[in-house]
Symmetry: C2
Subunit: 374 residues, 2 copies
């Protein structure tokens, strides 16, 4: 059975359109400098990493061993406690965040979740889903959580264990909440029972390669971290990794007889192709390759900020960030470069694939449109 000629033609047109749109975008945090050709032969098979990646299963059409290596790599980079970590490859950052919050809820059913105003909209949805009590904390102008407000609110609610949902890179300004500072606050307020989840969707693969290293991971106080694979690393299919402390995960695991596996993941059937992609990316880049991509992205961001300021645009960025924030762009630019806007600002995200030529073109377009308006 095959497609008709008309259907093939539709696919060809879609391919052309998407190629075009991929070439132009500057406003979404996804990399496009990847090549997974090596892995295409695996799409012949009904891959499925069902259940816990670290448990045995009767089902063998899977890439569990590779998934284990991917998880171990991330646990290491995120400085998870030795022999006390667990994780799996998710369908994206949101699933990892949902997992972290779920763990926190199970451990602290009476806890209150604190998260800043600049938190991604999916988090409020997750909290509603899980029926968790939560309080939104003010953000600073740069998008980082307002520590004074957090401290004041936690002080009022000292009877409930705090669950911190920390942004390691907010959606709009890539602001990073300082986990070490938040942790110190717990000591100050004599709060011994708390949970910190780090949403490091974009920055989880940036921060480990920055000096000084932003405080965001297990060594800094996180209890779980979620990272997206399709963002800074890049992949054609949304994916991610969530890492948590194993002793916490063990508490919520349930013995499941059907797949002969302790099922600690959210979904049953799980993608077996995305772990291969992450493995391929890790192995082919290596730590040096990853650091080089971060350096390149930061250099492009610095260039972008400088060039925009030169033409009089009030662009700015948070320290060591690849996101350049600027005033809300004209609709033509928004359309052409697929720019996300919110609260009167927009942003360019200088992923490793973004070239200075592309930035120059954007600046040229901006100037042309500014003149046209006058």
């Amino acid at each position: 059975m095959a497609l008709t000629d008309a259907d093939h033609a539709r696919l060809s047109r879609l391919h052309i359109d998407i190629k075009d749109h991929t070439a132009n975008f500057l406003g979404y945090p996804v990399s496009k400098d990847f090549d997974y050709t090596d892995l295409l032969p695996f799409l012949e098979f009904p891959l499925n990493n069902l259940g816990d990646p670290f448990a045995d299963s009767t089902w063998k059409v899977a890439t569990r061993e590779f998934e284990q290596e991917v998880v171990a790599f991330f646990a290491d980079v995120l400085r998870a406690p030795k022999d006390n970590w667990w994780g799996y490859v998710t369908n994206g950052g949101t699933e990892g965040n949902l997992y972290g919050l779920y763990l926190a809820r199970e451990m602290m059913p009476k806890g209150i979740v604190y998260y800043s105003q600049d938190t991604h909209y999916s988090v409020a949805k997750n909290l509603h889903f899980l029926g968790m009590r939560s309080i939104m904390i003010r953000s600073q102008l740069n998008g980082e959580i307002d520590y004074d407000d957090l401290r004041a609110v936690m002080h009022i609610h000292r009877d409930a264990p705090p669950i911190i949902f920390a942004n390691i890179g907010t959606t709009m300004t890539e602001a990073r909440d300082d986990i070490r500072r938040i942790r110190a606050m717990m000591d100050e307020l004599a709060l011994s029972h708390y949970y910190i989840h780090a949403d490091a969707a974009l920055c989880g693969m940036i921060c480990p390669f920055i000096e000084p290293r932003p405080p965001f991971d297990f060594a800094d106080g996180a209890d779980s971290v979620s990272i997206s694979g399709h963002k800074f690393l890049g992949s054609p299919i949304p994916c991610g990794v969530v890492i948590a402390k194993k002793n916490n995960v063990d508490r919520i695991s349930r013995s499941i007889s059907y797949i002969g596996s302790l099922d600690t993941t959210i979904t049953g059937s799980r993608n077996g192709f995305t772990p291969l992609m992450l493995w391929h990316r890790i192995r082919s880049l290596g730590i040096d390759g990853m650091r080089a991509r971060v350096d390149k992205a930061l250099a492009t961001a610095a260039y972008t900020e400088r060039r925009l300021r030169e033409i009089g645009v009030e662009a700015w960025r948070n320290p060591d960030c690849i996101t350049v924030v600027l005033p809300k762009a004209d609709a033509t630019l928004k359309e052409k470069y697929q720019l996300a806007t919110a609260n009167g600002i927009t942003h360019l995200i200088c992923l490793p694939n973004v070239s200075t030529e592309q930035i120059d073109q954007f600046i040229n377009d901006w100037q042309l449109l500014s003149k046209a308006e006058k």
Copy 2:
């Protein structure tokens, strides 16, 4: 940047292993007669169908139009009410079930979920996740819900709206709960406010092609239906479709400014490749091709049941089902054919790709092992 030779060798070994395991399995409900070669060029791009597939988005590296067609196809096959359906391509049946239960909870916060003993383990996990009150109902010996028990329990709890989680094909015996009969029970008990979700993971693409058609879809009384794409249809990546009544979905939608889209889906970033696969499958098979696959599978199941009985194995199956149930298999067979076992039974699932030769080989192995035991 490229892989080392050693890494390439590991991938080659994995490919060989998986090919082998794919050739042999008989115990898991996933088809393997697919070919998506036409679509591989799309894996060059960072595809992402973020947000609602029917809403506009500034992000264009997506396959939303194709996803819309896929959803429309399923809505039609599942006889959803004209102009009152909505849906999206999920990461698998579990996500669709979670969505259906979430919708039910939002509409009936004080509802009680009823589901049979034979329900997939992920459902109890979902219910715990969503914090929903639930009561497990007895199953009949064939795996179908015990209607008398359901009626009795609902009668006791007539003050709470019932939320039915119906299995349209249980995991072990492919038993199908009769939605029309359950609906009639609601009338009998004067329950006007209720919700029925159909978990048609495997059978959603089987039942529409059987005469007489098993009562399982919207026309029979379902309010939402979840189907897996990687099960009967077949795909290398777990996926599925969930369809719900649009007026119900509208109630829980929230306006989200960031992606310029009403976000009614569970995750934010969504796979843009799986909708293309489902579209490809639908277009290349057509309704006739789908019916032919169902006929072939049913014929193989009948053959399997008969052959097993001929050699004295007490095999059986539910009416018009492709799953043949048999006593718990020997460990060697369990390993070789990747058979799932639970409660002292195992099963062979006669998907369209299963050949009578493969069944003959299984029977041969069974006989050899039986003799060896004597």
